[in-house]
């Protein structure tokens, strides 16, 4: 079986680096070595200040008494550390509950997106009904309509669904289902399925493997890399979503952190609020460090997703 290309190329980049215009011969020139070396050190310092600085400040402020953060935000613990911000972020702001909601929303979005993308792409790529081209064209058209401009009709639909006369407001399905209508996922998945070796699929079919078993026992196991990529996208997109959950999850007990935090900003002491922000960042940062390669590699694709 052919190796999935997404693995091959970036690994090469990580190990050997991209093609470089500075050749080894250039590196031997002292001016280049010093010039580039200095530039790189400066770049590293700037990246630390800009990329890491705000997050470190947030971590520091989570442990600093509110008054110190207001009067001298850049001072280093002028009156010592306090754990009370974190504990009241956990107990009063109830960060735990909202983190759980965030996780539930993300997992649900993930599950629905995976089901829709895999089954749809499988049908379009492997089963190929005659009308598949029409569906594909309709899918690709939706790439021209960013989800955000459908806000109003989607909202009206969720509040007063046609045919079914129950409002889906304050129901996680109202978040999960619209998010799973991602043409990007389907296209990505279909592109992968298109490149699966046909001989294996044909062989399985000749051995009497029906469409369902083909999907579950052959196609899905061969698709682990792309499932990983789509999963990561699904979880990240859901974790970042704000406007849609804000509209359809009015019940505070159901809201994710992204909706909850702006709502309580006015009513929470600054130190506690910053502690809540810091706690919110922990899961994405840890997740990023664990899945760093997958996320960074997929970043280009998520750039395309924004279009």
């Amino acid at each position: 079986m052919r190796a999935w290309p997404i693995r091959r190329k970036p690994r090469k980049r990580d190990d050997a680096g991209p093609q470089s215009f500075v050749l080894s011969s250039d590196w031997r020139r002292p001016s280049v070595r010093w010039g580039l070396g200095t530039t790189h050190v400066v770049l590293l310092i700037l990246l630390i200040i800009i990329g890491l600085g705000p997050i470190l400040w947030l971590a520091k402020s989570a442990l600093t008494p509110t008054l110190d953060t207001i009067t001298s935000p850049m001072a280093w613990f002028p009156h010592g550390l306090t754990w009370s911000n974190l504990s009241s972020a956990w107990t009063n702001v109830d960060v735990g509950l909202y983190m759980r909601n965030t996780v539930v929303i993300a997992l649900g979005s993930w599950a629905f997106q995976i089901v829709v993308a895999t089954t749809g792409a499988y049908a379009l790529s492997v089963l190929r009904p005659k009308y598949g081209k029409v569906i594909m064209a309709l899918l690709l058209t939706t790439l021209f309509v960013p989800a955000v401009v459908l806000l109003v009709p989607l909202y009206v639909e969720v509040v007063h669904p046609p045919l079914i006369h129950t409002s889906f407001v304050n129901n996680y399905l109202a978040v999960w289902l619209p998010e799973s209508a991602s043409a990007f996922n389907v296209v990505l998945m279909k592109r992968f399925f298109d490149n699966l070796p046909r001989e294996i699929l044909e062989a399985a079919r000749i051995d009497g493997c029906g469409p369902f078993r083909l999907f579950v026992s052959i196609v899905l196991p061969m698709s682990r890399p792309i499932l990983g990529v789509v999963s990561i996208f699904a979880v990240i997109a859901s974790w970042k979503d704000y406007l849609w959950p804000l509209l359809v999850l009015g019940n505070p007990n159901l809201q994710p952190l992204s909706v909850r935090l702006p709502n309580i900003e006015q009513f929470t002491p600054l130190g506690v609020f910053l502690a809540a922000l810091a706690l919110t960042c922990v899961v994405p940062i840890v997740g990023f460090l664990i899945f760093r390669r997958l996320i960074v590699r997929g970043s280009g694709l998520s750039g395309a997703l924004k279009g």
Partner: protein
């Protein structure tokens, strides 16, 4: 299509079109004439597998698109029956004094985002591509802000932008002898402040796109240029840049499309203030639909959304062409 073509490129995969054509399964034509045959030939299972996709896209993508267009020419408030009002919603929007302000502000946001956010990631990516040690560390640092959820990033920067002399940024400015700034509470500085945060939050992913594209630059060209005695700058200018041209166009258009929809920053930083200095098109759509506690103007919101889609479609078409060129390389 745009992304369709972009994926194999970003993954360093050969375009899938040819494969698809070559491996097309032979199909018995006319199999659907009788239902029994149709089922036997797998027509039912094909449909079953497509069902989730059809339901979800039908309900949450295709239907809302049609509904959007309908709402734009209707007066509807969810309580009474919708009435047909022709193009009057469009006319109401165009004559709203806030409409030109919102368009102008969105254009300013997009323009400033290009000034701040376009060259910097490119320079950083080109420099990073030459890093020999700890490249992973550089990438992690550059990408870290992208990991922070956008809402958290905005709320954090709102604290930074505290206009008091002892605000975070004003304290830092004080160290280098610059007086306190007004940041988001000044009509002139509010928009640049929003863009600054947005650039911080998004530059990482652009850097990664450029880094990926730099992988594709043909090493032999550099070596050949070196033989010809070309210096570093010449190599960057004459080899790297031309090779990145297509990806630069793609990121440009993606950025324009993204910034045309900017919402979270103006909504959470300033709610469009001060004095409408940060009112953007998406925020205006939101305000039409949900901003008034006593009732919504869904028609106006839909009309403005349709106008926005039309505008974005133009850029999407350019994007499509650009990626097609890119794929051909």
């Amino acid at each position: 299509m745009a992304i369709d073509r972009m994926i194999p490129e970003l993954q360093g995969q050969e375009s899938g079109r040819a494969t698809q054509e070559a491996t097309r399964t032979p199909r018995v034509s006319g199999a659907r004439r009788r239902p029994a045959t149709w089922v036997k030939r797998g027509g039912l299972s094909k449909l079953l597998f497509l069902l989730p996709l059809l339901i979800v896209f039908g309900a949450f993508s295709w239907y809302p698109i049609v509904r959007l267009v309908m709402m734009a020419v209707q007066h509807t408030n969810l309580v009474q029956r919708a009435t047909w009002v022709g193009l009057s919603n469009f006319s109401l929007v165009i004559h709203d004094p806030l409409f030109p302000i919102a368009v102008k502000n969105t254009a300013i946001f997009a323009g400033l985002a290009l000034v701040f956010g376009y060259p910097v990631p490119l320079i950083v990516a080109v420099l990073m591509s030459e890093v020999r040690r700890l490249r992973g560390l550089y990438a992690v640092l550059a990408y870290l802000p992208v990991v922070i959820p956008p809402v958290v990033a905005v709320l954090l920067w709102k604290t930074f932008y505290d206009a008091a002399p002892n605000g975070v940024f004003n304290t830092i400015l004080g160290w280098v002898g610059i007086g306190p700034q007004q940041w988001i509470q000044s009509q002139a500085q509010a928009m640049p402040s929003l863009v600054l945060e947005s650039t911080w939050a998004n530059a990482g992913s652009t850097i990664i796109i450029y880094l990926a594209a730099l992988v594709g630059v043909n090493q032999e060209l550099y070596e050949a240029a070196a033989v010809d005695g070309a210096g570093l700058w010449k190599k960057v200018w004459h080899i790297t840049m031309p090779q990145l041209r297509a990806v630069l166009l793609v990121t440009l258009i993606l950025q324009i499309i993204g910034t045309a929809q900017v919402f979270i920053e103006p909504y959470l930083f300033t709610q469009g203030g001060p004095a409408n200095a940060t009112l953007t098109v998406m925020l205006l759509i939101y305000n039409y639909a949900f901003g008034n506690s006593l009732g919504a103007s869904y028609g106006k919101a839909a009309a403005l959304s349709v106008m926005l889609v039309g505008f974005l479609a133009v850029f999407s078409l350019i994007y499509l062409r650009a990626t097609r060129t890119w794929s051909r390389q």
